[in-house]
């Protein structure tokens, strides 16, 4: 099985275009349940955010980061949600707060998820942002928004590109 997350190993800083979403974007919106029998991030990415409308996968073309309001990723346990975002080329989600299962799933597959309400309040649709994971800072033009650093174990998982690479290493596979 190919794994987009795995290719990201060691990525600390990325720059790219932002797409802005509202509050309570749940996992049914991120990837509707009819796609739950799919696993490949690339395949899931083709249906990303379809719960918000059929135009969505196309709207995310060229987008690197999703910024959103409160409770992003609430709802179901489906890991297909962060994988769909990864498959669509998203390299980080910044929100006011996250649904908890989505939050841990994202870490587990190596998708950086950052709580930073100030950056969300400041960002404009289509703006370019830089996310620096080691420096725990988001740059929007000349404005800097610091976020709480990840706990060391979480940082390790994110930088490894998810749990699977770590697990394989640990088990010697």
């Amino acid at each position: 099985m190919k794994d987009v997350a795995r290719n990201r190993q060691g990525t600390l800083r990325e720059t790219g275009k932002v797409h802005l979403l509202g509050d309570d974007i749940n996992t049914d919106y991120i990837i509707p349940a009819v796609y739950l029998c799919l696993y490949e991030p690339e395949e899931l990415g083709r249906h990303v955010l379809e719960g918000l409308g059929p135009e969505y996968p196309a709207r995310l073309e060229g987008v690197r980061f999703v910024f959103a309001g409160r409770n992003f990723g609430s709802g179901s346990a489906r890991e297909q949600a962060p994988n769909a975002l990864l498959g669509a080329g998203i390299r980080g989600v910044v929100a006011q707060s996250f649904g908890r299962i989505f939050y841990r799933n994202s870490i587990n597959v190596g998708l950086p998820v950052i709580e930073c309400p100030d950056a969300v309040a400041a960002v404009e649709e289509g703006e370019e942002a830089t996310i620096d994971l080691t420096g725990s800072v988001i740059l929007l033009g000349t404005r800097r928004f610091a976020f709480a650093p990840f706990p060391p174990n979480v940082q390790e998982i994110i930088l490894a590109g998810g749990i699977m690479p770590l697990l394989k290493e640990k088990l010697g596979r």
């Binding site: 099985m1 309570d24 749940n26 049914d28 919106y29 509707p32 349940a33 009819v34 739950l36 029998c37 799919l38 696993y39 719960g51 409308g53 409160r70 409770n71 609430s74 709802g75 179901s76 346990a77 489906r78 890991e79 707060s97 649904g99 908890r100 299962i101 841990r104 799933n105 587990n108 597959v109 706990p151 174990n153 979480v154 998810g162 749990i163 699977m164 697990l167 394989k168 640990k170 088990l171 596979r173």
Partner: protein, 427 residues
């Protein structure tokens, strides 16, 4: 450290202190721990973890733990893809000696509770957000993702942050026609969809004590709709008696310490609580039934892990006895398990429902997640006993979903409009 000291632990802290891998026996909200769950469930909707586990080429599944593999989200399979996932799960279960809940047996969470698998104080992980339902028996049900599950299957451990806790206390007596579902909707309307984000929600008080395990299930089940990580319903003689019957032995009780710390501590009185309805498109958009009364419906659905138990089928049968489903309305009923289905047949409830015009579906999730068996068309309105009414959850994005108790759903099926079940009771 904290075990013998003065630190008073919440339910969540106690369970994670017991299961942490390094054996230090303490846990405080905010800590990151490596823990060893007692059990796990894997589902057809997240069977990816089984594929990933096999890639690792290991022989032992979840060392020291117990695993169930269950098919309920699209059972029976609705597509070749889904059928292939089910076939993969059957092969996996046979190869690794894992217990299988096959197509037709029902919704995993219901089957776990019927069998009395969750015990007070146990840590149970599952690749489904409603895994926290096991709080109805005092277990720490923690929803996780496919990668977490792969890690657990491979090593018997996962990482976990010790959550803060919320305590919701309920006093008073529920009126006839008002249920646990209405209590949880009350709290959900109050706290909102992120009111208990990352927290462990403890349900307690006289009005909780008065509920059966079936209704306590609903409290734990919908806690995830407030953003909770887990839920715990007070363990009392109702819990222990239930487990003595279901599991054949009475386990020890398991309670949080007196004086533990809660970041939210709310009290509710349910004495004058009316039936409640969550209007589109959030489960927290809660209103008293009279504010939504008269909304015309196309479909009524009784089922999901938030309902579909024998007690719910009985309430619906009592309301439909001698009445008919309104013309133009589809009333779908999916028993939560084959056991509930059979009991409903033996008690005559199934016959009452079918002769009134209801359609009985196979035990399982049914149309709850919009995968099969009763998806909604553009512009349609459904009232459901489920736990989520997000836009598009049950089919078309242009459809609307209202959430309510089994009684309110059955009453609405008869009226063809959202209706107050109290008008059908006691007559």
């Amino acid at each position: 450290m904290n075990r013998a000291g003065s630190y008073r632990m919440t339910f969540a802290e106690k369970v994670l202190a017991r299961t942490r891998v390094d054996g230090s026996g303490s846990a405080r909200a905010g800590e990151m721990l490596q823990v060893r769950p007692d059990r796990s469930i894997t589902l057809d909707a997240d069977a990816e973890c089984l594929v990933r586990f096999e890639e690792l080429g290991l022989d032992t599944v979840a060392p020291g733990g117990r695993v169930v593999a269950a098919m309920d989200h699209y059972a029976p399979a609705e597509s070749v893809r889904s059928a292939n996932v089910h076939a993969l799960m059957r092969r996996f279960a046979a190869r690794h000696g894992v217990e299988l809940f096959d197509v037709g047996s029902g919704i995993t969470h219901q089957l776990m509770v019927e069998r009395g698998y969750p015990k007070p104080g146990e840590l149970i992980i599952g690749t489904d957000s409603h895994t926290l339902s096991y709080g109805c028996l005092g277990a720490f049900g923690a929803p996780v993702g496919a990668t977490d599950m792969t890690a657990y299957l491979a090593t018997g451990e996962i990482w976990m942050r010790v959550p803060e806790s919320a305590r919701l206390s309920f006093d008073g007596n529920l009126s006839p026609g008002v249920y646990g579902k209405d209590m949880v909707l009350l709290a959900l309307g109050d706290l909102g969809t992120d009111g208990a984000l990352y927290q462990s929600v403890e349900w307690t008080g006289q009005a909780v004590h008065d509920l059966s395990v079936s209704e306590r299930f609903v409290l734990a089940n919908l806690s995830v709709e407030m953003g909770a990580k887990t839920a715990y319903v007070q363990v009392d003689e109702v819990t222990l008696r239930y487990l003595a019957q279901a599991a054949g032995e009475e386990p020890p009780a398991f309670n949080p310490d007196q004086g533990a710390r809660y970041v939210i501590d709310r009290k509710y009185d349910v004495s004058s609580l009316p039936p409640m309805v969550a209007a589109p498109h959030l489960p927290s958009n809660v209103h008293a039934v009279d504010e939504t009364e008269g909304v015309t419906i196309d479909q009524a659905f009784l089922g999901t892990c938030a309902s579909g138990r024998l007690e719910d089928l009985e309430v619906a049968a009592r309301i439909l006895q001698g009445r008919k489903v309104a013309p133009g309305v589809r009333f779908l009923v999916a028993p939560a398990s084959s056991g509930a289905y059979l009991a409903a047949i033996e008690a005559g409830f199934a016959a009452t429902l079918v002769s009134a015009g209801a359609t009985l579906l196979p035990p399982g999730c049914g149309p709850c997640a919009g995968i099969h068996a009763g998806v909604l068309a553009d512009g349609e309105v459904c009232i459901s006993t489920g736990n989520r009414n997000f836009r598009g959850r049950m089919g078309s994005r242009e459809a609307e979903i209202y959430l309510a108790s089994a009684a309110t759903v059955a009453a609405s099926a008869v009226r063809g409009k959202i209706a107050d079940p109290r008008e059908f009771m006691g007559g």
